[in-house]
């Protein structure tokens, strides 16, 4: 069964304190791995897509990496405005359509 697990469930950081969020997955043929940011009461906002092991993508203070079993979202020198829930999702196989399978998310809080 395709599955995505994110850790930790919640993370509290001080402003400027770098850290990483983990996304472990088991999937029958990875088509793509997606990271989203979600603010309370809003829809998820697209951040990155990763397609193959070894791939990395960056956007401002965020960098996403991918291995064959997991993905990391590295946050460098975070600011309070980075506080949000970060969701990881996988798209499985070429014959399974485009549906995303999400993890439960990591709730990030950055204090000034």
């Amino acid at each position: 069964e395709d599955q995505v697990t994110q850790s930790p469930e919640a993370l509290r950081l001080q402003e400027g304190e770098s850290s990483s969020l983990n996304c472990s997955y088991t999937v029958s043929g990875l088509r793509g791995l997606f990271w989203y940011r979600q603010d309370p009461g809003k829809g998820p906002e697209f951040l990155f897509t990763l397609y193959s092991a070894g791939e990395e993508k960056e956007k401002e203070r965020l960098k996403a990496t991918l291995t064959k079993k997991e993905s990391f979202l590295h946050i460098t020198a975070p600011k309070p405005e980075d506080s949000a829930t970060y969701l990881c999702a996988v798209q499985a196989g070429y014959n399974q359509g485009g549906k995303l399978i999400f993890g439960q998310g990591t709730e990030l809080s950055v204090k000034p």
Binding site: G43, K99, L100, G105
Partner: protein, 113 residues
């Protein structure tokens, strides 16, 4: 350009009533998805459309749930005989094709009393 829009933003209904939730995707996007999200959880897939047809409805929890996309653009999720357990955030997303990144709307918060 305009993003995905969903109406209403909030819907409060009574147990047993019928509700319709609307999604207006990004113009030109052929794939449209519905997800449901409970508090503290990630979104769960319900159904997706490629054009006008439902390509995968395996996530619909039971036959009280139904969705349409008659002209390949706007979609409506319909829930009959609502139950308290249907209370959740209902999210719609669209993508250029089924394997591109999905862009989400703001969601409809459904509360069944």
């Amino acid at each position: 350009g305009a993003g995905v829009s969903q109406t209403p933003s909030n819907k409060v209904t009574e147990k047993g009533k019928y509700v319709e939730l609307r999604c207006d995707p990004i113009s030109g996007h052929t794939a449209l998805y519905w997800y449901r999200q409970s508090l503290g959880q990630g979104p769960e897939f319900l159904i997706y459309f490629q054009g006008t047809g439902a390509a995968d409805d395996s996530g619909l929890p039971n036959d009280r749930f139904f969705a349409v996309r008659p002209e390949g653009s706007v979609s409506t999720l319909k829930i009959q005989r609502t139950e308290r357990g249907d209370s959740a955030m209902y999210l719609c997303a669209s993508s250029l094709t089924e394997y591109n990144e999905q862009f989400f709307g703001p969601g409809t918060r459904l509360t069944v009393l």
